[in-house]
């Protein structure tokens, strides 16, 4: 223990040793070579750590930093032994040298250990050539991949741009992120003027009336996260009236389930739509044709019925009368029979003349129409029938405010209103003061209707519904009931393309409804 203390106390002391110059047989040359070589080694060994330090200082992320630090220490200590070796020529500090050597030994072994530990990792490290090779290889692969990617992008673009549908992508802030070239076929616009812009901004230049529904559907797709679909018509570069179907598809983010973008697909359906319209038109035409056919069939049926009943009946009477005259010897009775022949003939004449009138009505589709006010025509009749109306204390009301006038043949409208009015007066109830009301209405589709309602006897429609508008059909035992009026009225209305129908309850009243047909003209006429 004392010797250790002694050792360290005299660490820098040279006592007991002789400078190297005087220890041994040194020539001047030999000594100086020794000294200079040692100092040169020390200088070099001192410079290397500085360079190494500057290297690891620069390469901050260098993973062998530890090894280098150990190396720096190792070299510094090795250098120090050489310096001391040179100093010893003059000052023999062997004690200090022993310590430096010992520390050098420890540091050297430390370095060995660290190196040993790092060699496997160092082995994994590639040489610059190897790295270069790898980089080259990877660059090549990257280039191929890029080429493939750009090919597929080109393909995708070609696909999207050659798709006849107009495809866009719109972000949440309602800005166009993408639009394909198909827009150019329908609008004189530039892609650059659309992409990145807001829908409203783009539509302002477009002047499209469909912008509102487009905006509404796009917003709805964002909100509801559901596909929106609708059709619209617009003019295009080439078409006056093009028809399109619009599909707005929301694109959901996989993680948040929020709609970040929508894809819109606008498809030109003009051809299909025109076919559809044509088809609908054709069906409508067919229906009109079928209706006309049905009308003709009914007219034919009417006339068959008329021939079977209205004509055969007076002819049968005449035949009977003539046979009776032939067999009759009594002059008075013969005279009576001849009188009856005249009456029967008169009836036949009236029937034939009625039929002639109806045939004329049926053939005269092109009869001249004029703009007529319902009120004027009804008022004329009210004046003419004043006595009759006063006699029965009839109360007659009207309201033509919904539709005041109509383009119609004058004699027909006069005859229709007169028939309705005189029927209502004729078949009044004996128990009530007659109340008759006329009014007009316009249906949603523009069809004009005339109504006439009374509080009269009423007709049992279950029994007589199909006969009410037939010739010589009467349902009341009434001296004036001839049954020509409604038959004529129906023929006039139907010839002009309208319909007449009746609702009635016995002892409550009757309501006639007339629907006029050529409403579009009348709209204009109004």
């Amino acid at each position: 223990m004392d010797s250790i203390l002694e050792f360290f106390k005299n660490l820098f002391d040279a006592k007991g040793f002789m400078p190297r110059w005087v220890c041994g047989n040194w020539t001047e040359l030999h000594g100086w070579i020794y000294i200079i070589a040692n100092i040169a080694i020390w200088a070099a060994y001192f410079t290397i750590p500085i360079l190494l330090y500057s290297f690891i200082y620069e390469k901050k992320r260098f993973i062998f930093k530890n090894v280098i630090v150990w190396f720096i220490l190792f070299i510094i200590f090795c250098g120090s032994t050489h310096l001391i070796d040179a100093v010893i020529f003059w000052y023999p500090m062997y004690r200090f040298n022993a310590i430096v050597l010992s520390v050098t030994a420890v540091v050297s072994w430390g370095t060995v250990f660290v190196l040993y530990k790092y060699i496997p990792r160092a082995l994994e490290y590639k040489s610059p050539e190897q790295l270069q090779y790898i980089i080259d290889e990877q660059t090549k692969e990257l280039a191929t991949a890029y080429e493939k990617l750009s090919d597929s992008e080109k393909q995708f673009k070609a696909l999207v741009n050659n798709n006849p549908d107009i495809i866009t992508r719109i972000s949440k802030d309602l800005k166009y992120q993408f639009i394909n070239d198909s827009i150019l076929k329908v609008r004189n616009m530039k892609i650059e003027d659309i992409v990145g812009k807001n829908i409203e901004e783009v539509s302002k230049n477009d002047n499209s009336p469909n912008t509102n529904s487009f905006l509404t559907n796009v917003k709805k797709a964002f909100e509801s996260k559901e596909v929106q679909q609708y059709e619209f018509a617009t003019n295009t570069n080439t078409l006056n009236q093009g028809y399109f179907s619009m599909t707005v598809v929301p694109l959901k983010d996989e993680n948040s389930d929020e709609v970040e973008d929508v894809i819109t697909v606008t498809r030109d359906i003009t051809t299909q739509k025109l076919y559809e319209i044509e088809l609908v038109q054709n069906v409508a035409n067919l229906e009109i044709l079928a209706q006309k056919h049905e009308n003709k069939r009914r007219i034919l049926e009417d006339f068959t019925y008329i021939v079977s009943h209205n004509l055969r009946s007076p002819v049968a009477n005449l035949s009977s009368l003539l046979h009776l005259i032939q067999d009759e010897n009594n002059a008075d009775i013969r005279e009576l029979l001849i009188q009856k022949v005249f009456i029967a003939f008169e009836k036949l004449s009236i029937t034939v003349s009625d039929l002639t009138t109806v045939v004329q009505i049926r053939q005269n589709i092109e009869i001249e129409k004029e703009l007529l006010r319902f009120e004027d025509i009804l008022k004329d009749h009210l004046t003419n029938l004043e006595m009759q109306i006063k006699q029965v204390y009839a109360e007659i009301d009207y309201d033509f405010s919904k539709c005041e006038s109509i383009l119609y043949p004058k004699i027909y409208l006069e005859s229709i209103i007169l028939n309705l009015l005189s029927n209502a007066l004729k078949y009044k109830s004996p128990d009530r003061k007659p109340k008759i009301i006329f009014w007009t209405e316009v249906a949603k589709d523009g069809i004009f209707s005339l109504f006439c309602q009374d509080n009269g006897l009423g007709i049992d429609l279950k029994k007589n519904g199909n006969k009410i508008f037939g010739l010589n059909k009467t349902f009341h035992e009434h001296p004036e009931a001839k049954g020509v009026g409604l038959f004529m009225t129906r023929n006039q209305i139907e010839t002009m393309g309208g319909t007449i129908s009746v609702e009635s309850q016995i002892d409550i009243g009757t309501k006639f409804t007339i629907q006029f047909n050529n409403y579009s003209d009348q709209w204009k006429a109004r």
Partner: protein
């Protein structure tokens, strides 16, 4: 009955037909009495009133198909209901100027209808009908 039909009833709204038919029936000399009604309702009312006086009820009815108020078909409906309460059977012929087969078929479907006659009936045809009924 002395080889004659007691009462024949004509139900028809056509007054000329009423006149000619009654003359033709008279000329057959096979009928004692003719009564006439302008429609089914009047005829039905009469039968109703006279249903306990078989002497006043008709033996044969010539019923017109087309009439106002109550036509031949409606008369038949009511008559069929009433028939069971009547003291004697009444023969009914439907009469019409119509040669419409639908009317003819309909008449044949009703068992109470003995026949369908097309106007004009004529003296000869009436004589045949009455003779058949009398025999």
């Amino acid at each position: 009955m002395e080889g004659k039909i007691e009462t024949v009833c004509i139900v028809d709204d056509d007054d000329i037909y009423q006149f000619t038919a009654s003359m033709e029936i008279q000329k057959t000399n096979l009928v004692n009495k003719i009564i006439m009604f302008p429609n089914g309702l009047k005829a039905l009312d009469y039968i109703n009133i006279e249903k306990d006086n078989p002497g006043n009820l008709p033996d044969v009815i010539f019923l017109d198909v087309n009439m106002p108020m109550m036509d031949g078909w409606d008369f038949l409906k009511e008559f069929i209901i009433m028939k069971a309460n009547l003291p004697k059977s009444i023969v009914i012929f439907m009469v019409s100027s119509s040669v419409d087969s639908r009317d003819v078929d309909r008449a044949h479907e009703i068992s109470e209808v003995s026949g369908y006659m097309v106007k004009p009936m004529g003296k000869q045809r009436l004589t045949e009908v009455f003779n058949t009924l009398l025999s």
